[in-house]
Amino acid sequence: MVRYTGAEVQRMEDPRLLTGHGRFVDDIHLPGMLYAAFLRSSHAHARIRSIDASAALALAGVHGVFTQADLAVPDTAQPMNQLYPSPVIHQDITQHPMATDEVCYVGQTVALVAADSRAIAEDALALIAVDYEPLPAVVDCRTAQADDAPMAHVGTDTNLGGQLRSAFGDIDEAFAKADHVFSASFMQHRGGCHAMETRGVLARDEPYGEGLTIWSSTQCPYMVRRALANYLGEPEGRVRIIAPDVGGGFGPKAGFYPEEIVIPVVARQLGRPLKWIEDRREHFTATTGQRDQQWDLEVACDKDGKMLGLRGVITHDNGAYMPYGALLPFTSITPLPGSYAIPALDVRLDVVFTNTTPTTPVRGAGRPYGIYAVERMVETIARELQIESAEVRRRNFVRSDQMPYETGAKLRDGMPVRYDSGDYHACQEKALELADYAGFAARREAARAEGRYLGIGVSACIEDTGVGPYEGSTVRIEPSGEVMVRTGAASQGQGHHTMIAQIVADQLGVRPDDVLFEAADTAKFPQGVGTIGSRVTANVGPSSYDAASQVRETVLKLAAETLEAAEQDLELEDGEVRVAGAPDVKVTLGELAMKLAPMSGGKVPAGFKPSLEATSYLGSSGSPIASGSNVAEVEVDIGTGEVKVLRYSVAHDCGIMINPMMVDGQIIGGVVHGIGNALFERMIYDDQGQPLTTNYGEYLLPLASEMPHIDIVHQETPSPLNPLGVKGAGEGGTIPAAPAIVAAIENALSDFGVVIDYYPVDPQYLTGLIDAAGAQAAE
């Protein structure tokens, strides 16, 4: 029998997308629809004295101009709800759907124009006169807590928004007994979302029907439903959210945005459908992303480089508001101490407000920061003790015989961080072999003979995936014999349909092509969570598997009655149930489904329920921990500071793979995102809080021409936490990329003793380090 789980099934999503028949938010056109554009703050921090929209309102084709005071909501003074309340938040400051009397970052919503066309709406924006009183802005998180720092918000006396700590073991003892204590300070900068589809919202109100229907380019339709219903004071059942095709998410589309309130409310007020599509320039300031963290760490180790303790302080640039609680800060420190068994930890993270776009998770969330930090300390030990960093890792990895291993840290929900399974030693050896690490010395020497500088860098990571508490699925056999799967989980290109079809097909003896799929519409599945944190395979995988297994049981029981055979003699294959040894005695899945779907006058067989279906919310019992080791080989031009990635090797373990081709796609895409973080992507603000990089000439995304071929080898250590043995795979490419690249650059420049304390490592920064090292050597 063909088994689809584990096979490289070609994606079922693709023919539609390849022929231009996808359906993204901007592709939906409703009768009578108007178009919106937002006026956004041009100041990083200012008081709004007045807004005069009279000239805009007079423009032909303009249907209305709205400010916060004009919105028909229960309380215009009410800021947006905190999505993730937490006791670590000291100042829970969220923004209003549109600014009231103060703007706190460039790009903040100030007013909306609704017009016959987007062009007219944009014309009208230029006619709105806002009288701003500029206020001092705080921009750099490293100085935001200084005595003379301006306040990001009027009326506050500190920019500290929250404080987190992760501590376990006896940290003082660890440092007291250490042979060595090494410290390192470094700044990390991660870029923004930059999904190729910007955000978009389309809303229609049917006052006598189902209420509001909203199409949003979101990762989390149920979060949008909850937050919007809360803000409007209306039942969730009167708010329907649909995420149609979404052109990439990467985290920032998982939040809840001002536009997701304003567009539906104004659509309702005007009695017309209203569409807003973010333009790319807006995306740079209106869509959240990640940015800066300053890390100051100390590591204690013995004479062999075995780590005993890690401590330090982190400052996190939160931007101007805290829409997403402390999730990004949490995920920065909960992965510590990474792949290593370190008995003591004590880190504190300060969340500070700045007058910049709010920060929320981007691919990997805080994990790339945390893993980078611990990998930096490994590199520091290796450099100081003159031990190869791969060997330092070997001496410190959590061993496979220690699994399940509790690090001592706690997750957001208070549960202990527990590594469920994995073999980090074997994974690193696989990566080193794939990279021909042993042959590198010869390659380096040959290159040096030509005056070229090659370097190699290793990194390791763990990734907590599959966060709960659930993501359900309904599996139903249609009278046609096809299988319909419905789930709340939205896709942004990951291939959920194909992955789930493979799992369900194996349970029900059909082909993946026979599995229909509907997702991400709150009217079609009652409750979901969303697509974040590499959680769908580890949640919808098990729920679809479980629901399909239940349907299979019903199928066999009903077929046994129908065919007058014993259940154990039945075979379920090719969409039919057959009696073993008597292949002509059979009944199709469609015929069985029809028996449970009679019309008036018919009868459902005794002992069965109508509709051949089952629903499950089975997920993973805990967070499956994926792992990986990466090796980067780079060439550095010491004259220009250009870094070329020559070779990139990944050994990755995300448990059992449903579709290895799609896993590779996730890993490669993730690695390239991480290389972008390491070398290119930089969102720059000047000291007034004005963004300087708001197009793709100024903000560099990784291109095909700069990316290496990426080699991958998989290790499949099943997760014991779900029946499929799966772990998430969406972010494990990104997390270890920057530390491998940065270590490789340092390795290439080891003659100069260059130590990198910032990324992205752009040519200006790197030539500065090389020149400084050269000057030092000359002295």
Binding site: Q10, R11, G22, G248, Q492, G493, G669, H709
Partner: protein
């Protein structure tokens, strides 16, 4: 009142005559006037390549060209690439087989760009493919599947497989 002009464009083999605003770009003309929404707009400043279409056989960024400039010309968008019976173009087929797409948003422009590139260079090296693709941004795939698809499509178009 907005300045308008009548234009006649051949689009995917069909002739269309429309009165359009002179400031309307070709991408918006295709998407909103002709309802050919397969052409996607990713950056509106000619950097991402998502909106690439063929104009008289040449790859063009439709966000940087006005609709009136297409008057009298022949435009092929992603919807016009597959055969009338639905058979995918070899480039589309190769993207499917090699996992050359994830979210599908950049895909239309990628596929069109590759079609034009392989017309000019039917037997490219991997390095040439990567250079050719450097005008199209993909955030999902890391490009590797797209590069593989382009090389495979080149073989198919040369009649080698």
């Amino acid at each position: 009142m907005a300045d308008t002009r009548e234009i006649t464009v051949t689009i995917n083999g069909e002739t269309e005559t429309r009165e359009v605003e002179t400031r309307l770009n070709l991408a918006d003309f295709l998407r909103h006037e002709l309802e050919l929404t397969g052409t996607h707009v990713g950056c509106e400043h000619g950097a991402c390549g998502a909106c690439t279409v063929l104009v008289d056989g040449e790859a063009v960024r439709s966000c940087l060209m006005l609709a009136v400039q297409a008057d009298g010309h022949e435009v092929t968008s992603i919807e016009g690439l597959a055969a009338a019976d639905g058979t995918l173009h070899p480039v589309q087929q190769a993207f499917w087989k090699n996992h050359g797409l994830q979210c599908g948003f950049c895909t239309s422009g990628m596929v069109i760009s590759v079609v034009a590139f392989l017309e000019d260079n039917p037997d490219p090296s991997e390095a040439e493919v990567r250079t050719a693709l450097s005008g199209n941004i993909c955030r999902c795939t890391g490009y590797q599947g797209i590069v593989a698809a382009t090389l495979e499509a080149a073989e198919t178009l040369r009649g080698e497989n």
